[in-house]
Subunit: 428 residues, 2 copies
Amino acid sequence: MDRRRLFALGGAAGALGIAGVGGGAVGYGIRGAKADKRSATELRYPFRGEIQQGILTPAQDNMYTAAFDVTDEDLDSLRFLLEDWTVAAEQMTAGELVGGAPSANREFPPADSGEAWGYPASGLTITFGFGRSLFVDDKGRDRFGLAEKMPAVLRDGVPKFANEALRTDASDGDLLVQACANDPQVAVHAIRNLTRIAFGTAKLRWGQIGYGRTSSTSTAQETPRNLFGFKDGTNNIKSEDGDKELDKHLWVQSGDDDASDAWMTGGTYFMARKIHMYLEIWDRVSLAEQEDIIGRDKRYGAPQSVASPDADAEFTPLDFAAKNGQGDRAIDARAHVAIVAPEHNHGAMMLRRGYNYTDGNDSLGRLDAGLFFIAYVRDPRTQFYPILKTMAHKDLLTEYLQHQASALFAIPPGLGESDTMIGQKLLA
Amino acid sequence: MDRRRLFALGGAAGALGIAGVGGGAVGYGIRGAKADKRSATELRYPFRGEIQQGILTPAQDNMYTAAFDVTDEDLDSLRFLLEDWTVAAEQMTAGELVGGAPSANREFPPADSGEAWGYPASGLTITFGFGRSLFVDDKGRDRFGLAEKMPAVLRDGVPKFANEALRTDASDGDLLVQACANDPQVAVHAIRNLTRIAFGTAKLRWGQIGYGRTSSTSTAQETPRNLFGFKDGTNNIKSEDGDKELDKHLWVQSGDDDASDAWMTGGTYFMARKIHMYLEIWDRVSLAEQEDIIGRDKRYGAPQSVASPDADAEFTPLDFAAKNGQGDRAIDARAHVAIVAPEHNHGAMMLRRGYNYTDGNDSLGRLDAGLFFIAYVRDPRTQFYPILKTMAHKDLLTEYLQHQASALFAIPPGLGESDTMIGQKLLA
């Protein structure tokens, strides 16, 4: 097992003095029989490594993702912010207070807001990213002298898709912070304290709280269910897929992009879509039609090409040529699994890491709920946009969805032992 | 141990075929050393009993509380709704699908939306209540012929308090459903399916999601922290306090109220306040001032009357006469603990069961976050309003709070073995 994998799977937690944590972490699942939430709250993941934490890390139970806009136009202020964030993130992910020790001087506000004081690290990971507007803002200005280093992926931006209704104030931003943990209070504490540290330099633009991870990032995790009641993300990249596959689909390789080669090699791209789900309409669709729309059996998540679904059939490969009893294709060509399948998309795969959200209800009593879809990919231009375009036009599921926000960020590689800030190679 | 206590502490779970669950449940705490979330997700609480579940039940990690307005003016429709809700709630709290078995007829929509299919019961409890408008609505109408049975507590309503800014559409309602669980997806599933069942009869009026319970309802639970970073609810009623104390402070006694005596005896009142916390302002207050405002040490939650706080001092009784090194009162008379202390409120106590909330942020980047305060009391007119009035006028903490919603509901006793619906004695 090489160094990258060791970090990804949490095995390096031993370096922090926690023996035997890695295996327990990976084995954590959602059902009673497999669940071991005790080890889930005791988990601590190393903040530094070749890649950033929170990508291949076994998906935690809770997420709070936030974007910030830098309000100070001085490059040194941006550097100071990222240095301060780096110190605080390393402390919080280790289960410590911001500032390390409890405040000694009672005449000052405490460095840490305190609502997670004494709580275990709870598997907290904090992942940082840089948005297009950090390089060239909406007015075309290069505020920090970074325009030349802007990755082509950010320069090109996200194309428009059919039927989307994107809220600008809930989309994109200069800086991304994704906090994931097995205790929601620990995730909220992280975003709150980073927001507080940013005061005067950067402002919280939007935040999204999610629960019930909708994807597994490890083969040892059970596949969870989305709010349509289906197992979601079965066909996901997993951390166990090996470096060859991960390098092909997930990590930016040297030579991918001239402008950002020096600082993005070994990084990845974060693509989020806030997807409202029309639950009240979906709930009135027959079970047969629901399964035809998804292309899987609802109970076990088995492909419809499996004649007699059972608990073992979830991971049976999709067979798009298989016929059903009526002689029709068992899986409709417009079914969701067919639309997004790698074999129909030039082999494109993504690492999915999304969460369900429920943000209350409207005045008619309809839930404001859905999926905060997150994918990490080496290049969204080939791995994500074409699939989303096909989904928007052909996927039977699209009728029950509305994309309400979008976010694209460049995720630099992890911090070396002597790095003082995230994005060191971009900003130092 | 009598029958009521047995139910309250989960010991009756044995009746559902789960051995040894009671002790594990009560022992669940927030810190790594004591946490055992595995048993927390395996927990199942009996739906029926002398009292409703979700009151004395050891406070779970997640809450989704919702209020509904009945849109159909027919008493039988209301009865059918409550019967359907009762069946579904009993199934869901047992970890089953709504409808019991998986849908057999694929040509109909599934009875259960499915997003918790295969998930353990996760300690789910569902608690029901009746609001003032069910008896006499805002237009003064007695839609269901229940006006004569309206409790005096509901008739009198909640008085206005200084500095509140209540949102009508997020306050009160005809029917209350409080779902609590150790998995947020299980709580969301419960409210969603009850909302769906209500379609055509009642409409979701408001819903509030909470995390990080802010009170312990058992002496075996550790005291959690609120978003000001302080341990909260140390001085709470606990299920272990004994029937004499619980009958005095929590449960409605025969003779308390003529109009509702026949159906509310053994019930209680639910009082919620959505309290926005000005976190950004609080975070700029010195540690000394924060502690003076609360009246406790921030690290351990020890009363300021304890000269040298340590981990054992949290439950040391408050000594309001104690002096500090400067010869002043150690606990300011306007400190939060002094304002709400039973000894300053004619011995009034309440069972607190609130949760933290974070609902996003405003356009200035400030978190929309705070405490969804819930208290269960025998009579809010003597046990809650006077304290809230004093708080609004004198409490040093009030400057950092704004009450944004309010909800008062009558909570009938639990369901007997042959009852077909919650509130059987009111509606049958």
